[in-house]
Symmetry: C2
């Protein structure tokens, strides 16, 4: 499979750490040291996961090397839904009048983007789709609590999208060489480490340390596994895009993998944790940077728990 185009959308509104200093007495230095975040993007009052899913497509439609109406499968990814019935996939189908496309939305927390691409892989294998659109959109601030000193300051909002086709369309395409997802609910504090219960307390992260330990372990494991399976070693990889949950986790993963300066692609300092959208936003932001033949690895860990990896070649 081939990624033909990517796009991303970040809301205009930027919330600096000083907002939390004023609100709950957390200093810029404390937040940055703990998370690597200086600012986070926040959806406006009229924005939600559905509007951001539409806006991200608008931002990328010009770069799409085929007509948007050729899309026959729309897979949304979000754990912060605006509407669980008329999902973000349906919002896109309606807005752009993409008749007869299959439409569904998936959640496996912060891993959801890779789960969505794995669903596309299946639809390609059954020949039920040949042009798919995956849109990860997160409106964390609709469910998070600014007064929550434990995790309220971590969250950002945003969306990213990938147009994926079964065959190569152009030399600009990035090939998906392999991908994997793993459910890890039976590990550690899987079910309670981080949760989002719309009717019972919203988005909370009561077990940050447990998440830290398992995120570091399983993001490295997913990378090792996908490289080994495909006959590559760490030396073959030019770029790494880990899930942008926390710069300390990312630093730990980079150290475990023995990465060099410049190999790690990050956006968390500016956007905060944009959930399942974080890696596709980072891929889109850096699309022009990748050179022909370079290998890129995406690795994710999310609530639930869940993990995944994707091996790409420009």
């Amino acid at each position: 499979m081939y990624i033909n185009a990517t796009c991303h959308y970040l809301p205009d509104k930027i919330i600096p750490n000083s907002y939390y200093t004023d609100l709950i007495d957390l200093s810029d230095e404390w937040i940055y040291k703990r998370s690597g975040i200086r600012t986070r993007t926040k959806a406006g009052v009229d924005e939600n996961t559905n509007t951001m899913s539409i806006d991200v497509i608008k931002s990328g439609i010009d770069r799409l090397p085929y007509d948007l109406k050729e899309v026959d499968l729309i897979v949304g990814a979000t754990y912060t839904p605006y509407d669980t019935v008329a999902t973000n996939a349906h919002a896109i189908q309606s807005h752009f009048a993409i008749a007869r496309a299959k439409a569904l939305s998936v959640s496996s927390a912060c891993s959801s983007f890779i789960n969505a691409v794995e669903i596309v892989e299946g639809y390609f294998a059954t020949n039920k789709s040949r042009r798919a659109l995956v849109v990860a959109s997160e409106h964390n601030t609709a469910y998070s609590d600014d007064y929550d000193k434990q995790s309220g300051y971590l969250w950002g909002d945003g969306a990213g999208a990938a147009f994926i086709s079964k065959e190569r369309i152009s030399e600009e395409d990035i090939e998906i060489l392999d991908l994997n997802t793993t459910g890890l609910a039976d590990v550690g504090k899987g079910l309670e480490g981080v949760y989002l219960r719309p009717n019972k307390g919203g988005l909370q992260m009561p077990y940050g340390k447990d998440i830290f330990v398992h995120a570091c372990k399983h993001m490295v494991f997913e990378v090792d596994n996908i490289l080994k399976k495909n006959g590559f070693t760490l030396k073959d990889i030019t770029h790494f895009i880990p899930h942008q949950a926390n710069a300390r986790i990312i630093g730990n993963v980079g150290e475990s993998l023995g990465l060099q300066n410049g190999q790690l692609i990050m956006n968390i300092e500016d956007t905060g944790n944009t959930g399942s959208a974080s890696t596709i936003i980072a891929l889109s932001q850096n699309w022009q940077r990748f050179k022909k033949g370079e290998l890129i690895v995406i690795t994710v860990f999310g609530g639930g728990y869940s993990s995944g990896a994707m091996l790409l070649r420009k």
Copy 2:
């Protein structure tokens, strides 16, 4: 693909129409005439989509012709999530310690059960799974409004599950001959006909008539389409299981298809609209009734809009 076993779970608590007579002055006769519902099942205060997903597996585990731990893919289906991060798929993985299984939850409203099976079909095609578990669980009453005279009385709670394997396991299996899903968000009042916005008004159905018209049309279309594609006619089909949203819609679909008495399988009178769980609950309730060689068609329509069908052979 083969369904090796099915199971269903309905909460003990039964809400009769008289509850709504007392609350908002809707008579038993008026509700029954309008919807075909006499009672609906309601989750208890400690129940939710995750607990019902666990309970439905407990109810069926004895009939499973292999060890539950052989399951390598758990696909949840729900538009009424308890937790969008630790989903119902994760709850099952955690409770039954099904290590390394892939876990995700999907929503395409009331069609979600068939979307989930179509995802399984893809995982089988890529050989990433051989034993899958699909669990549809709906806790409508967590998001609906009992005082809503338009649709508050329609909703029931419950869960259904199907164990699906790539190869036939026993003579009791039901074969999935074919299945299809269609996104219909660009049709009629697709995005607004029925919605569930956790932060903005919960579960509402402002455009009942538009839903009626499109449900009748597209459920029939899905049936015609899947039969034609597989070289069958309506005369070849013994049992029909339509989505249990409203007995008037079901009656209209039955009339359009020219069905005979006894062909339509229904549970809405007792359970209310149990969302994406309704057809798998009905399939499980009637499992013993199907005779070797009989063909069964499931057809669904849901918010978003969305539709789908599944052709089965005992």
